[in-house]
C-alpha cells in the first residue's frame, strides 16, 4: 500500500474520532419512577462514580439471588440438576410465586461466608449450571410461566473440566434457548454482570440493571492487565469501558435501571427487594400482552439492533 491508501485511512480515522455516541437499540418506555431515578443519575458521570459502582456491585453484603428469592417468591421450590451429570450450586433455578403469579427463576448465586463461597464457586457456573438453566427455561415455556433471571457472576468458570464439558457451547445454547422462548422474560443484573457467563442468562424481553450493578465484556482488572499491562490500572480501565448501569442504558444495552436504597442495596435488603420486585413485575407487564410469536420477534429485533458501526 502506498501513501495514498494511508492518507485515505488517516482521513477515516479522524472521522471516527469525532463520531457521536449512538443508541444501538430503541429504548423502550419506562415507568415514571424509574425515569426520575434516571434523571437523578444523568449528567456526566465521573470516573470515580463508575468505580463506586464497581465496588458496590461486588460488595460482600450486597443481596444475592437467594436473598431476593426469600423476599419475593412465595412457595419457592428449587429445581436441581442438569439431568445428565451434576447439580451446579453456582446457578440456582426454581419455581415460585411472584406476587401471586407462578414464575420460573434462574439466577447466579454467590456465597457470603468462605464455606458458602467455595461451595457456590463464587457464582461462577460450569456448563452444567447453564444446562440446568436451559432445563428450567424449557419448563417455563412448556407451562407458560414467565421467566425471571438474576445475573450476578464474575464470569463463567474458567477451569479444565468446565472447558472439557463445553463451556463455550453451553453459553451459546443458553442464549439461543432464551431467544426461542415463547413466554415473557425479564433479566436483571443485580451485581456483577461478567461477560459470557452473564449474558448466557440475560437474553430477555426486558433487561434491567440495578443502580449500582455493572455489566461488562471483561473485568476492570482483566482489561487493565491486557491493555495497560497492569491490573492495578483497573479504575482507568473501568472508566474507559464504562460498565455502569447508566452507560449501559445510554448504549441501548439495557431497558431500565432499578433503583436501590440510598447508599446501595446492601444497606437495606428488604427495600432493595421491594424495589426489584416492583421493577420485575412492571417489566413483565410491559411484554405479557404481546402475542408469543410477536414477543419473540421483538426480542430478537432488540438484540439484532445492538451495536454501533459505521458504513464507509
Amino acid at each position: 500500500m502506498a501513501n495514498e491508501a494511508e492518507l485515505r485511512l488517516r482521513e477515516r480515522l479522524s472521522k471516527l474520532g469525532g463520531m457521536k455516541l449512538l443508541r444501538g437499540a430503541k429504548v423502550s418506555g419506562e415507568i415514571e419512577r424509574l425515569e426520575k431515578q434516571l434523571e437523578r443519575l444523568r449528567g456526566e458521570r465521573g470516573d470515580e462514580e463508575i468505580w463506586r459502582s464497581v465496588e458496590l456491585a461486588r460488595h460482600q453484603e450486597r443481596p444475592y439471588t437467594l436473598d431476593y428469592v426469600e423476599r419475593l417468591l412465595d412457595d419457592f421450590f428449587e429445581l436441581h440438576g442438569d439431568r445428565a451429570r451434576a447439580d451446579d450450586p453456582a446457578l440456582v433455578t426454581g419455581i415460585g410465586s411472584l406476587r401471586g403469579r407462578t414464575v420460573v427463576l434462574v439466577g447466579h448465586q454467590k456465597g457470603r461466608d468462605l464455606k458458602e463461597r467455595t461451595r457456590r464457586n463464587f457464582g461462577m457456573a460450569y456448563p452444567e449450571g447453564y444446562r440446568k438453566a436451559m432445563r428450567a427455561m424449557a419448563l417455563a415455556d412448556r407451562h407458560g410461566f414467565p421467566l425471571v433471571t438474576l445475573v450476578d457472576t464474575p464470569g463463567a468458570y474458567p477451569g479444565v473440566a468446565a472447558e472439557q464439558h463445553g463451556q463455550g457451547g453451553a453459553i451459546a445454547r443458553s442464549q439461543a434457548a432464551m431467544m426461542a422462548l415463547s413466554v415473557p422474560t425479564v433479566a436483571c443484573v443485580i451485581g456483577e454482570g461478567g461477560s459470557g457467563g452473564a449474558v448466557a442468562i440475560a437474553v430477555a424481553d426486558r433487561v434491567l440493571m440495578q443502580e449500582n450493578a455493572i455489566y461488562s465484556v471483561i473485568s476492570p482488572e482483566g482489561c487493565a492487565a491486557i491493555l495497560w499491562r497492569d491490573a492495578g490500572e483497573a479504575r482507568k480501565a473501568a472508566a474507559a469501558f464504562k460498565p455502569d448501569a447508566l452507560h449501559c442504558r445510554e448504549l441501548g444495552v439495557i431497558d431500565g435501571i432499578v433503583p436501590e436504597p440510598a447508599g446501595g442495596a446492601h444497606t437495606d435488603h428488604d427495600t432493595a427487594a421491594a424495589l426489584l420486585g416492583d421493577a420485575l413485575v412492571a417489566a413483565l407487564a410491559e411484554v405479557e400482552s404481546l402475542d408469543p410469536v410477536e414477543r419473540r420477534r421483538a426480542r430478537r429485533a432488540k438484540f439484532r439492533a445492538m451495536g454501533v458501526f459505521a458504513t464507509a
Binding site: L13, G17, A172, A176, C223, R304, G307
Partner: protein, 282 residues
C-alpha cells in the same frame, strides 16, 4: 504480520496463531522447523507437507481455497467499526483499527459474501485472526447477522469459518452484545429452514465460541485448532490446575463430544460440498 491485541479476558493469553514477530519467519513450520517459500505454502493450502501442521490462513486466502473460482461476491463490505466509547488505552481504538486495516487490507475481522462450492450455492462468513486477533465488535456482529439474513433470503446454507480471540474489548458492553445478536440471527436463519455449517479454525475462543461458532447444524474444526471459552493461561492461573497437553484443542473437544469431525484442510472443500448437497436436497 501485525497482530491485533487479543481482547477478551477469557482469551488474551492463548497461544498466538503464529509466533510473535521476530521469533521465527512466519513460513517456518513450528511443528517440524521446515521452511517454505510463500508460493509453496499457498499451493499446499498452508499445510506443512512434511508434518501436517496447519498454518493460519487469512480470510481472502481461505475464500480462495473454498469457493469455486470467481464465484465469490463480497457483501456488507461497507460495514466498518466505529468507536462508540471513545476508547483510549495506551492508544486510541481508531488508531488500532487503521493499523489493522493497513496490515491486512481488510475492513474488519470478517469477510462475508455469496459463493458456490463445487457448484453448490451458499453464503460465506470468514474471519481473519490477523485483524485485531479476529475480535468481534459491532461491525463483525453486524456483518455476520447480515450474512445470516442473506443466506435466509436466498434459501442457501451459511458456511462460517471462525478464527477469533473473542469479543473486542474496545467496544465494551456492545461487544458482548454481539453474542446474542449473532445468535438471534442464527435462530432466524434456522426458522427460515436454513442451515449453519460452522468451521472452527485456530483459534476460536471466548465470545465467538460462546455464540454462533458453537451453533452450527454441523460443527467441524481444523486439526490442532484451539477452541476454548477461557484460554489455557487464564485457566492455569485461575485454577492452578495442571492442564492436559491437548487442553482445548480440537482433538480434545472431539473426544468430549463437542465436534462432529476434525477435518484436515485439504478435505475441507469436498466436505463442505458434501454437506451443502445434503442440506440443499429436500
Amino acid at each position: 504480520m501485525a497482530e491485533g491485541p487479543r481482547v477478551d479476558v477469557e482469551v488474551e493469553n492463548k497461544r498466538a496463531a503464529e509466533p510473535p514477530a521476530g521469533t521465527a519467519h512466519p513460513n517456518t513450520c513450528p511443528g517440524c522447523g521446515s521452511h517454505y517459500r510463500e508460493d509453496e505454502l499457498v499451493k499446499a493450502l498452508r499445510v506443512c507437507p512434511h508434518c501436517g501442521h496447519h498454518f493460519p490462513v487469512g480470510a481472502r486466502e481461505r475464500i480462495r481455497q473454498l469457493a469455486d473460482d470467481g464465484s465469490f461476491v463480497e457483501e456488507a463490505s461497507e460495514v466498518r467499526s466505529a468507536d462508540p466509547l471513545g476508547f483510549f488505552d495506551l492508544r486510541p481504538y481508531p488508531e488500532r483499527l487503521v493499523e489493522a486495516e493497513m496490515a491486512t487490507g481488510l475492513g474488519d475481522a470478517i469477510v462475508c459474501g455469496r459463493a458456490t462450492i463445487e457448484g453448490c450455492p451458499c453464503r460465506l462468513a470468514v474471519m481473519d485472526f490477523a485483524f485485531m486477533g479476529g475480535s468481534m465488535g459491532s461491525a463483525v456482529g453486524e456483518k455476520f447477522a447480515r450474512a445470516c439474513e442473506s443466506a435466509a433470503a436466498a434459501g442457501v446454507p451459511l458456511v462460517s469459518v471462525s478464527a477469533s480471540g473473542g469479543a473486542r474489548m474496545q467496544e465494551g458492553i456492545l461487544a458482548l452484545m454481539q453474542l446474542p445478536k449473532t445468535i438471534g440471527a442464527v435462530e432466524e436463519l434456522r426458522d427460515s429452514g436454513g442451515a449453519l455449517l460452522s468451521v472452527l479454525a485456530h483459534p476460536t475462543t471466548g465470545g465467538v465460541l460462546a455464540s454462533f461458532a458453537s451453533l452450527g447444524d454441523v460443527v467441524v474444526a481444523e486439526p490442532g485448532a484451539l477452541m476454548s471459552f477461557a484460554g489455557p493461561r487464564v485457566v492455569a492461573q485461575t485454577t492452578r490446575e495442571r492442564l492436559p497437553d491437548d487442553f482445548g484443542r480440537a482433538e480434545s473437544n472431539f473426544r468430549f463430544g463437542h465436534l462432529d469431525a476434525i477435518v484436515p484442510r485439504p478435505e475441507l472443500r469436498p466436505t463442505l460440498a458434501r454437506l451443502l448437497r445434503l442440506f440443499s436436497r429436500r
